[in-house]
């Protein structure tokens, strides 16, 4: 097992920015403009993925935007590190929200995190959260699969 690369460790989601922070940022907005602005700001906090990781095997399929996901598991700390990238910024913001519950967490925490329920608290538009095409559900599926794999 390789060490977790620095560019993966530098993802602040789930570390400096936890689910409570995301909730505070988004759920309290009075209007959609502010909510989307903050979502786009969250998107900017995700470090860009190195070009070498934007591979076919790291692609999440079935999304309108091209979404890449990379991960590494630190067996010593027992934590899963995940980052995503996409050329669609609203989508990236949504992915960042999900990563606030997944990234740098223990496998138990990953399995315990109910991403859909969390997203539902953020006052985002329903179709953004439930739409298969934006990759959110695919990301959730992939992360849960990883947690399963490393727990075995």
């Amino acid at each position: 097992m390789q060490a977790v690369p620095e560019w993966l460790k530098s993802n602040p989601m789930g570390v400096e920015i936890g689910t409570a922070d995301v909730f505070r940022e988004l759920a309290s907005c009075q209007d959609w403009e502010t909510r989307y602005q903050r979502l786009l700001t969250l998107a900017e906090r995700l470090p860009c993925l190195p070009a070498s990781t934007r591979t076919e095997s790291n692609r999440l399929h079935g999304c309108q935007a091209t979404v890449w996901v990379t991960h590494a598991f630190d067996p010593v700390a027992g934590r899963l590190y995940i980052n995503c990238d996409t050329d669609a910024r609203v989508v990236k913001g949504l992915l960042a929200c999900v990563l606030s519950g997944y990234n740098a967490q223990t496998l138990e925490a990953v399995r315990a995190f109910d991403a859909k329920a969390f997203l539902a608290t953020l006052q985002l538009d329903d179709h953004l959260v439930s739409e298969r095409q934006n990759g959110l559900l695919a990301l959730v599926g992939k992360v849960r699969m990883l947690a399963h794999r490393y727990a075995a």
């Binding site: 989307y36 786009l40 309108q64 935007a65 050329d87 669609a88 910024r89 989508v91 538009d125």
Partner: protein, 413 residues
Amino acid sequence: MAARQMNTEAFNAETVRAEFPILATEAHGRPLVYLDNAATTQKPQCVLDVIEHYYRAQNSNVHRGAHYLADLATRGFEAAREQLAAFLNANGKEEIVWTRGTTESINLVAQSWGRKHIGAGDHIVISGLEHHANIVPWQMLCEEKDAELKVIPVTDSGELDMDAYGTLLDGPVKLVAVSHVSNALGTVNPVGEIVRLAREAGAITLIDGAQAVAHMPVDVQALGADFYALSAHKLFGPTGLGALWGRYALLESMPPWQGGGEMIERVSFEKTTYNAPPFRFEAGTPDISGVIALGAALDFVGSLDHDSASAHERDVLDYCVARARQCEGLRLIGDATERLGAMSFVLDAGHPADVGTLLDRQGIAVRTGHHCAQPLMARFGVPGTVRASFAVYNTRADVDALFTGIEKVKTFL
């Protein structure tokens, strides 16, 4: 019906809009601006009424029961067939086969005519502008029969390369299947010329008319094609219904493709003989209320003064394209001289998916993505586009709302 009176007056978009209850609703608390008509058009009150009336007062199975209701339903059902035949200037209602939509119409031809007539080494010609519905059924057929699929290339302006088409016709072409109007770009293809050349080359022709019928009169006899496919839901009618027009002699020569009730003449365990077209291709209980409602939708279209309605549609689309040309950071995808119903674009500012989400938040419904035309998106090197598509009830005010929306999107991205 209010719309009927409009024949005598100039086109009034507000009167037409008033017939579509959904246009007065809101999306995310904002007045709905519906610019996704290429996906499906909205339904006028007369269509809604007919559906309700059918189930309240007419519901019965067609061509079967010897009773009052069955007779009512059958007459309504067959009257709509007659109406669609007249709408397309077909040679008679026997040339109209009810299907679930354009997709099924094309699959019917591929599975019935195609499996009978296409063999190893034959060529089927489609175009680079096609919807997946006019690609995949032919690919499946080619795979099964070891035939070859040839594609008319698309130029930078989103038009078909007719010289290349001429060259393709030098091959052993059995069938040419192209769209009348491109759903992704709005390009109107020169189908008259395409059909003429195909006939000279001895090929059968199918025109995918899904995006044409709501915007222009179609005369299948004048066009000279062999098959014409359409969907009711893109023509102000209900979803899940469409039709295939085919030359009767051709339909008569074709084997059935689905077996069941309606399509048979007589059945025994030794041998079943098949009904004549169109019933041969209509196995099972059809979408009776849908067919009758399509009749109402055709009444609606017929109630419009065609020339002024067309001029109105052209004005709105031209206005949209002109606004687009002035819009900074907007790139039109496809810029055909002959365009109808739709305009596709990308913004430098952001991904089409984000643009769509941020327009939606403002009550503006557009479609983003590949529009079921992935090969075409690849041709233009874009992951997808934003498509604004229009119907007769859209106005310049809708276009203004779109561009106000786009300016706002730019402030985000």
